[in-house]
């Protein structure tokens, strides 16, 4: 049967040591099924929809296009790790709530993780830059207008109160 390996990863600040995984399991499935962090969504599972976007060592990546074994020794941030505490949202999440940045919410985890990296690299983007940044994230509700507004609003909020 399928080969297994033990991996150690840090997800949202929590270290998971020597977790045994089949070598062929994707990072996305590992996050959802083994760690129970179902905030990371799976849409297409071949790198098109962007719903499964996570940050790997601070850089956005599609977790359906990585094997869990490849994350061994690395640090991962999922949507569950964005808020500073259980009762407080991140300014990016607040901006999404206030600007109707989500409808069904399926694409939201990928939008948030993608934008978290983007706004860190580009704190004062133009609308066009935001649209290109989220071009790899599909919203089946077609709620892009609200998402773009939320991203621009979030940029403003994050500039006002840098983390």
């Amino acid at each position: 049967m399928s080969e297994k390996r033990a991996i150690t990863v840090t997800v949202n600040g929590t270290k998971y040591e020597r977790k045994e995984v089949p070598v062929r399991i994707t990072l996305a499935d590992f996050i959802r099924y083994d760690l129970g962090l179902t905030g990371t969504h799976l849409g297409c599972e071949h790198g098109v929809c962007g719903a499964c976007t996570i940050l790997l060592d601070g850089k956005s990546a599609r977790s359906c296009l990585m094997l869990a074994v490849q994350a061994d020794g690395h640090e991962i941030l999922t949507v569950e790790g964005i808020a500073p505490s259980e009762d407080k949202l991140h300014p990016l999440q607040e901006a999404f709530r206030d600007n109707h940045g989500l409808q069904c919410g399926f694409c939201t985890p990928g939008m948030l993780t993608t934008l978290l990296e983007f706004l860190r690299d580009n704190p004062d983007p133009t609308e066009q830059e935001v649209r290109i940044a989220i071009s790899g994230n599909l919203c089946r509700c077609t709620g892009y207008q609200g998402i773009v507004l939320a991203a621009l609003d979030a940029a403003k909020r994050m500039r006002a109160t840098p983390a």
């Binding site: 070598v23 062929r24 990546a61 094997l67 074994v69 990296e117 066009q128």
Partner: protein, 293 residues
């Protein structure tokens, strides 16, 4: 579980990886995974062994060496995108990178992986063809170099042996001040190009001293439009000259698939090569197709 069962190997050196390739049957190399992982998830490929190159040391670098830009095979597309050296010395590469997928895929995707996957529409493959690149390959008998013109053996197939690994690509640099442009037609931002065109121009005393025009996405590998290059060399750049010369692209043998017919690809080849030349020569500032992003 999406991917089919396989054995996983994560060598730490090129020699180790070459050794594995030489002993294992039906093995696939995993670089950035932005093409192989979808193919595994959809079970288009069923390898018995996956050899992951992500833990091999020393394959990620960008350096200039006596007029040549050398990029390690495992250099992420994102690192190329943000390299000041690339932007200064090889603007065509920077221009092309901006058309590749999305931020999330460029963070993982590698230059060597893209060259070896050899998608007919891949931007990096076109750049390598346009720049007369050389591919550096390691095998059991050491290192050898392959001219990029000889690198594609067929559809998605590089002309390397089963026990060889691409370790770097070398791009001979054009003189400082040369002009370049990369344009493509795709249905949505980040999609595979239906057709792309790369243009390089060295202009001296108002005349084109040297030209390189490459069309991607029309055939199994990018094609150099040598007719166009010949017709415009020695001439003063103008939209009229480019339009006439690029008509010859309509006779490039083009493939037909679900995305576009051969006729349409030939049409795009003529239009996009002209646009790439115009853009490179600074004649497209106000063109309606030349939206800034």
């Amino acid at each position: 579980m999406k991917p089919p069962p396989f054995q996983y190997h994560d060598p730490k050196t090129v020699a180790e990886a070459v050794g594995l390739l030489g002993t294992l049957d039906n093995a696939k190399l995993l670089a950035g995974g932005q093409s192989l992982m979808p193919m595994l998830n959809m079970r288009f490929v069923l390898p018995d062994h996956v050899i992951d190159l992500n833990r091999v040391d020393g394959l990620s670098y960008i350096k200039e060496n006596g007029g040549t830009l050398e990029i390690g095979a495992m250099t992420r597309q994102r690192d190329v995108e943000f390299s000041d050296l690339v932007r200064a010395k090889c603007p065509l590469l920077h221009q092309a990178i901006m058309h590749i997928g999305h931020r999330q895929t460029r963070n993982r995707g590698t230059i060597g992986g893209s060259l070896c996957h050899l998608d007919p529409a891949a931007e990096l493959v076109s750049v390598a063809m346009a720049m007369d690149a050389t591919v550096v390959v390691s095998g059991p008998n050491g290192q050898r170099e392959i001219k990029f013109a000889d690198f594609p053996a067929g559809y998605l197939t590089p002309s390397i042996e089963l026990n060889e690994i691409v370790t770097a690509v070398r791009l001979p640099l054009w003189p400082a001040g040369h002009k370049s442009a990369f344009v493509e037609f795709s249905r949505r931002h980040g999609d595979f190009a239906i057709v792309s065109a790369a243009a390089l121009l060295a202009i001296d005393g108002g005349k084109i001293a040297r030209a390189s025009v490459t069309i991607g996405g029309v055939a199994v590998a990018p094609v150099r439009a040598t007719d166009v290059e010949k017709q415009i060399t020695g001439q003063a750049p103008s939209s009229d000259l480019f339009r006439k010369a690029c008509e010859s692209c309509r006779s490039i043998e083009a493939m037909s698939d679900i995305h576009a017919s051969a006729d349409y690809r030939q049409h795009l080849a003529a239009v996009l090569s002209r646009r790439a030349l115009e853009k490179a020569a600074g004649l497209a500032e106000n063109a309606p197709w030349n939206r800034k992003h």
